[in-house]
Symmetry: C2
Subunit: 557 residues, 2 copies
Amino acid sequence: MTDGTKEYTDVPDKGLFFVALGGVGEIGMNFYLYACDGDWLAVDCGVGFAGDRLPGIDMLLPDPSFAEKIAPRLKGLVITHAHEDHIGAVATFWPGLRCPVYVSAFGAEMLETRLDEAGLLGRVPVRIFEQGDLLDLKPFEIELFSINHSIPEASSLLIKTPYGNVFHTGDWRFDEDPVVGDPVDYKALRALKKEKILALVGDSTNVFVEGDIPSESAVKTALTELFAAYKGKRLIVTCFASNVGRIESIAEAAEKNGRTVCLLGRSLWRVEGAGRAAGYFRGVPVFLTEEEAAEHDPSEILYLCTGCQGEPKAALSNISYGTGAVQPVKGDVVVFSSRVIPGNEQAIANIQNRFIAKGIEVITVKEALVHVSGHSGRKDMAKLYEFLKPKIAVPVHGEAAHLYEHAGLAADCGVEKTVIVKDGDVLCLSSEAPEIIGEVKTGVLARDRKQIIPLNAGVLKQRRRMIDEGTVVATVVLDKKGMVSGPVQFSAVGLIENTDPVLQQMDAAVKQAVDLLAAEKRSDDQIVADTVKSAVRKVVMETHGRRPMVETHLVRI
Amino acid sequence: MTDGTKEYTDVPDKGLFFVALGGVGEIGMNFYLYACDGDWLAVDCGVGFAGDRLPGIDMLLPDPSFAEKIAPRLKGLVITHAHEDHIGAVATFWPGLRCPVYVSAFGAEMLETRLDEAGLLGRVPVRIFEQGDLLDLKPFEIELFSINHSIPEASSLLIKTPYGNVFHTGDWRFDEDPVVGDPVDYKALRALKKEKILALVGDSTNVFVEGDIPSESAVKTALTELFAAYKGKRLIVTCFASNVGRIESIAEAAEKNGRTVCLLGRSLWRVEGAGRAAGYFRGVPVFLTEEEAAEHDPSEILYLCTGCQGEPKAALSNISYGTGAVQPVKGDVVVFSSRVIPGNEQAIANIQNRFIAKGIEVITVKEALVHVSGHSGRKDMAKLYEFLKPKIAVPVHGEAAHLYEHAGLAADCGVEKTVIVKDGDVLCLSSEAPEIIGEVKTGVLARDRKQIIPLNAGVLKQRRRMIDEGTVVATVVLDKKGMVSGPVQFSAVGLIENTDPVLQQMDAAVKQAVDLLAAEKRSDDQIVADTVKSAVRKVVMETHGRRPMVETHLVRI
């Protein structure tokens, strides 16, 4: 991830090229482009999560400016699946792209809310595809290949071009007995080899995971047994909201144990709506609201909550603090049917500790098979290379560590050429050997509520500095002689309490410093402001050990 | 951890009591008290690390007010070892405690810098003990029992009282071949059983760790082999600065491979100084400074850096950004001879990814035995219970999950009574059965540079709100009629750039809102301020989606 900007490179008019605008060197912000003889195809358009490093910022976006530049020749945007890191930036960037968006039925339902919020509903040409369909976006022809993942209707793309075929995996795994969708058609997959795969552009997420990843059905079985073991107790379960298969697993396991699922949290209800509209949750009883569940004995209910990553305002966090829909008591059981996304370890542990301290049992993947990953481990990655025999491997969807490990794995699988690219690198796939021929502008933007700003924006720098050193605004009134008139008014929000006697010290220091200036200097606003700044800083440094930003509002009367 | 305050409970004059002021329910801020017939003993006095949750705060402290209340009857403060979470608050709190501080020679060296910074050098009665000594602090008699840990001279305390003996483990492990200090004297330890152990107050850190934890010597061997395998390459190693044994292991492994260690980072040099003063690093060649190392070929040097937890300004982070003492290049090797402290996962991964993206190999405990823990796993914890056969187990030094697991382990080991306490609980150990009889005031304080403030301090709330919603300070000049005179001056640091045209909108909105007030309302400062606030908020909400705090500086002319 870089803050800076890079120079445009024009991509040649002839040949086949791959460019990642986001998704390489980071997990998140997937936004990929393919160029073939001057025409372009976009694959996915997602957001990233900012974590704690950017104050006041929840969400990151890849810089779309290069995509906007080639937009006139963009044949379409194909969405592999509906996770936010693949679909979450579509509504934001579409006005600059204005191309058709190809997406599955479930993905279209998930997209609808976002387009609606952005006032784009009905304006964006959303083309719903079924897996197995062939999209004709000449010079690209795209075969949509059904693959398993932790969300319904995930697709791998076989992108056929005059220069050869690229298999773009999207996020994927093999699941021989999935809860939603079908197992991957190995035979069809193996048959692709005959079409000669020039390059595989593939998910690196679980390249460090050895061994088999159990089927989602195994989770369903384990949950059924687990719920049976806790008969009579109150069960509070959390999972990723978009994991429709998991929600079905939980609901079926609950039903077999005489429990009905109550959904707690907005994103679960949103996915429930999108899922039902796209034909999921068919065999599952209607979910209960908080109010409906309250009429039942807790032993007949299973509370399914948002907040498995320790999100501070989600349903599970509220419950752990005792401010949620359910008052947790000793003897309750909390199940994390989810993994820990790196960076969220402590937030999750804090919630778990709050429950444990109340005598509540917490069950995670450490205790039972309550979660499996939606990404293949290295074993199935090797199997895919064996099936497809690509000439070139291009690892994506990973931090540097994942990409390098994935490249090594591909080489071990006999792939002739592996190329590690950075966001923005223009990779030529049509030359004798794959070659990075230049780079285009990329970068990371932050969604600052209603504004989209660069990571090096002044407000972000100031926000960091406000945290480290604080801010003081001083309003100084100067009379005709340029002497300070009346008390100096200070605001030092987040730095000095309004009742702190240091404010009197600051007042005295400012008055003394300004009044001691020569008359001609007192008539110079900049000199007065600098004098105020250094007087304030000196006091705050002594008393608070901080060197605040100081802004002076001068009023001359 | 609680923000609130609890009521004092007077601890009875008769009997034996244990109170944790910090260290239970969290890892960090260890501060324990024992009372015997009205006299008091303190064990450890440490800080905690705030992580990312408190903006502008690096360090947490346990609320010392109860300790200050009983200070007149405090016989002494015994430090088990010199880690910051056990010793880091001594200099801050001593003026309120004013008791002798008992500490080992190495601990005294580490303490000296802090006392010096606090202007307390020479004022604090520091009593240096040797392990095996008996401290007579009647009614307490304390036997200092040498134990292994990841810092020199760690002690367990056998606290003898008229009501029975308490074994306070401190942080501990068994190491049959340590690099500094001696193996634990099992025979002596087993002999303690004869003295009847009433209670064991014990470290819970690694209660989830199964299996044996290898000796520090095994790390030395592994490092020696590892460095041999990377002959000729530049080696950059990081470890915890206070781990004198590890530094010796690294230095010896380097020497065997024809390399001299160059120390990078202030805390490593500080520990080197304290270590040499206390008699460590005897067989180790003099460490090189950055300037000295620059005169050698990189293949003859081993760079040992601070920053193994991804600390943003430490030596390793600087190197990873290319702004450090060494310019990292493809082919270099970086070794993390350390563990990942929960909460630091992403910060560490970011540094590792920066190296990997440059073609630099990163080696961690996943690849080689380059680190072992200083805390015993459950196997050795069980062994200790077997050795000592305490009647009561009191798990400390852990989050809730650790404490509950530790209590279960102790019960499995045949310990009759296990008690889980919270910070502040007054645990009576002299009654028939251990019993929590009340609680004393506890809490968490934050070190805000030169100030010590409660976690619920206004400035911290404001700082959080500044990040979430922003602040605007508006200086409004009103003429004799109460009409706005001249432009309104705004400061919206970290929220709105100075060049943002929204400032004009805010100016117009404020003028309109104030000027439209009835004349008598315009003469009321509070009404004017409220009017300014709501006008500013409305504009910022529309343009920036934030609801800022607004402070108004009114100037009437």
